[in-house]
């Protein structure tokens, strides 16, 4: 249960630094603005089908906000410990590396969920005026949760590679944006490669959720993505056994 000690310290660290509040505020302002403008667009230009006319755009926009904010949330997780040197102490306490990884991952994930909760306000208010089918919205939120978890796992890994937080954030942006755009060169890439790339693209797997469809394949993809990066993080910590410290 040592990961809870790590997790508690990380969360405390988030809530005592104004950085986290800035990230939270920007995320909520942006996603709130996008919800408002998507809703206005839907009403003015006469949409009929909520999942494809409104929710799809709301959640694709929220995805961008998460892409913007989450790497900044995860960048400090290991980079700061490496910079301060506190990571060395962690290694001498009686706890396993996987507890360290689990604790830090959980803390960022909890913060992300806390970020996501206030965004329910828009749909809730909307529901007061129009009783829409909540199924698609729930599916989209499930997708957001999975996507955010994937972002956090990726950010955690990149942060474990460096002691520089800017490098950690930029590296995470690089990987996530690459996973987004890598299917955009359909015209030039070989068809066989495209088929593989499509399977790997983070955002292609999110489109179904945004439209209110939960496909097991997508869920499995996200879970594998998370597991893969958590595994890499663990390996990156274990690397000290043959590489040394710093």
């Amino acid at each position: 249960m040592k990961f809870l000690v790590i997790c508690r310290r990380e969360l405390r660290s988030y809530f005592t630094s104004y950085v986290a509040y800035v990230l939270l505020t920007v995320f909520l302002l942006l996603s709130g603005y996008f919800f408002y403008s998507d809703l206005v667009f839907f009403i003015l230009f006469g949409g009929y089908v909520l999942p494809t006319g409104l929710w799809q755009y709301v959640f694709l926009d929220m995805r961008l906000c998460a892409l913007l904010v989450l790497p900044l949330l995860t960048m400090r997780l290991f980079a700061e410990e490496r910079k301060l040197g506190t990571i060395e102490l962690l290694w001498t306490y009686p706890l396993r590396d996987r507890d360290i990884v689990a604790g830090k991952f959980l803390a960022s994930w909890i913060f992300f969920v806390i970020m996501l909760l206030p965004t329910l306000l828009g749909p809730l208010l909307f529901y007061q005026y129009y009783q829409f089918d909540i199924g698609p919205v729930a599916a989209a939120y499930a997708g957001m949760l999975l996507l955010g978890t994937a972002f956090v796992a990726c950010g955690l890994f990149i942060s474990s590679l460096t002691e520089n937080q800017v490098v950690a954030a930029m590296g995470t942006y690089g990987i996530l944006v690459f996973f987004w755009f890598m299917t955009w060169n359909e015209e030039v890439a070989d068809q066989r490669i495209i088929r593989v790339l499509l399977r790997l693209s983070l955002f292609d797997h999110f489109y179904n959720f945004a439209r209110g469809v939960i496909d097991t394949k997508d869920v499995v993809f996200f879970l594998l993505f998370v597991a893969f990066f958590l595994f890499l993080t663990l390996q990156s910590l274990t690397a000290r056994t043959w590489r040394g410290v710093r």
């Binding site: 040592k2 000690v5 310290r9 405390r12 660290s13 005592t16 630094s17 301060l84 040197g85 506190t86 990571i87 060395e88 102490l89 290694w91 001498t92 306490y93 009686p94 706890l95 396993r96 000290r240 056994t241 043959w242 590489r243 040394g244 410290v245």
Partner: protein, 318 residues
């Protein structure tokens, strides 16, 4: 309490420590002495489970640090060379976090924190943020952190680095107070520190152990020669020639300093030549201003071990 057997650690082409073996008994305070980069920190990190050795074996409190790492770590308190603390926590919050890490039972936590804070003279700053403390206090927080959980073995990497003289003596006092109840390994490149606090010294350089002994024994054992310092009013060349003729004298180094000649006379080990030298000078009718035996400090021993060529008590002055 600590058994290190043939520890070797390589980082790529660099061999940080090479075939390091030593043991430390329960309740002993042992000093790791060596210049920067000698392999002190590497050895300590291996003992604390930060990384395993390339080869060799280390056992702490009966547990192998590689195969039973968690159990071994539960018995170790470590304070790293670079004071590494979370700046955004108060001292009390930080120590509470460490107590949780080290499985200190809930009902004993407050007592453990107060005890460690008191031991390190932190009781007045427990409510302050670590980031606002001076370097000396941070260093103490680092040591307090190591004391939490009553570890049987304390590993302190350069515990007095960067402290002012008063704080240095406080930390040494703290270490001395632990004598008998804890096993302590501390590293330093400051010699008086070892003389002041340690039961035994391990001298290490370039990854190899050069000597393991008590500070007193080292002094005895490594004294290859005795030295006498003489100041005399006479021609330098004549003095050198005359003193070389004294039986048992190995080397004479005479330097003119103003009106006098300063001579350093080296003779064979354990031979006190002072009487003969005085007699020789008196026989020549020279004016003898000073004559004293030069004692070897640990510093000289250390230098002679680390740089065998430039050896010698009171190495030649430029």
């Amino acid at each position: 309490m600590i058994e290190a057997a043939h520890l070797t650690k390589r980082f790529g082409a660099l061999t940080a420590i090479d075939d390091v073996s030593f043991s430390v008994a329960r309740g002993e305070i042992v000093g790791f002495l060596g210049p920067n980069g000698a392999g002190k920190s590497t050895t300590m990190r291996i003992l604390c489970g930060v990384f395993p050795p390339t080869s060799g074996r280390a056992v702490v409190a009966g547990y192998d640090v590689c195969t039973e790492s968690l159990r071994a770590r539960a018995h170790i308190g470590y304070s790293p060379e670079r004071v590494a603390l979370y700046m955004d926590m108060t001292v009390r919050e930080y120590l509470a976090y460490v107590a949780d890490m080290k499985d200190v039972a809930r009902h004993r936590r407050a007592a453990a924190i107060d005890g460690a804070a008191q031991n390190c003279g932190l009781q007045h700053v427990t409510h302050r943020l670590v980031g606002t403390l001076s370097k000396g206090y941070r260093q103490r927080v680092g040591i307090a952190q190591a004391l939490i959980g009553q570890p049987t073995v304390l590993v302190l990497d350069e515990p007095t680095a960067g402290l002012d003289p008063e704080q240095v003596s406080e930390v040494r006092g703290l270490v001395r107070d632990l004598r008998g109840e804890r096993t302590v390994i501390l590293s330093t490149h400051i010699l008086p520190e070892v003389e002041a606090t340690c039961d035994r010294v391990i001298i290490i350089n370039k990854g190899r152990i050069l000597a393991v002994d008590t500070p007193q024994n080292l002094n005895q054992r490594l004294r290859r020669t005795s030295q006498v310092h003489v100041e005399v009013r006479a021609p330098a060349a004549a003095v050198a020639a005359r003193l070389r003729a004294v039986a048992g004298v190995v080397d004479v180094d005479a330097v003119r300093a103003g009106e006098y000649v300063t001579v350093s006379v080296t003779s064979e080990k354990d031979r006190d030549q002072r009487a003969q030298i005085a007699a020789a000078i008196a026989a020549e009718g020279w004016e003898l201003l000073e004559l004293r035996a030069v004692t070897l400090s640990l510093e000289d021993i250390f230098l002679s071990l680390v740089h065998p060529v430039a050896a010698g008590p009171e190495a030649p002055r430029q």
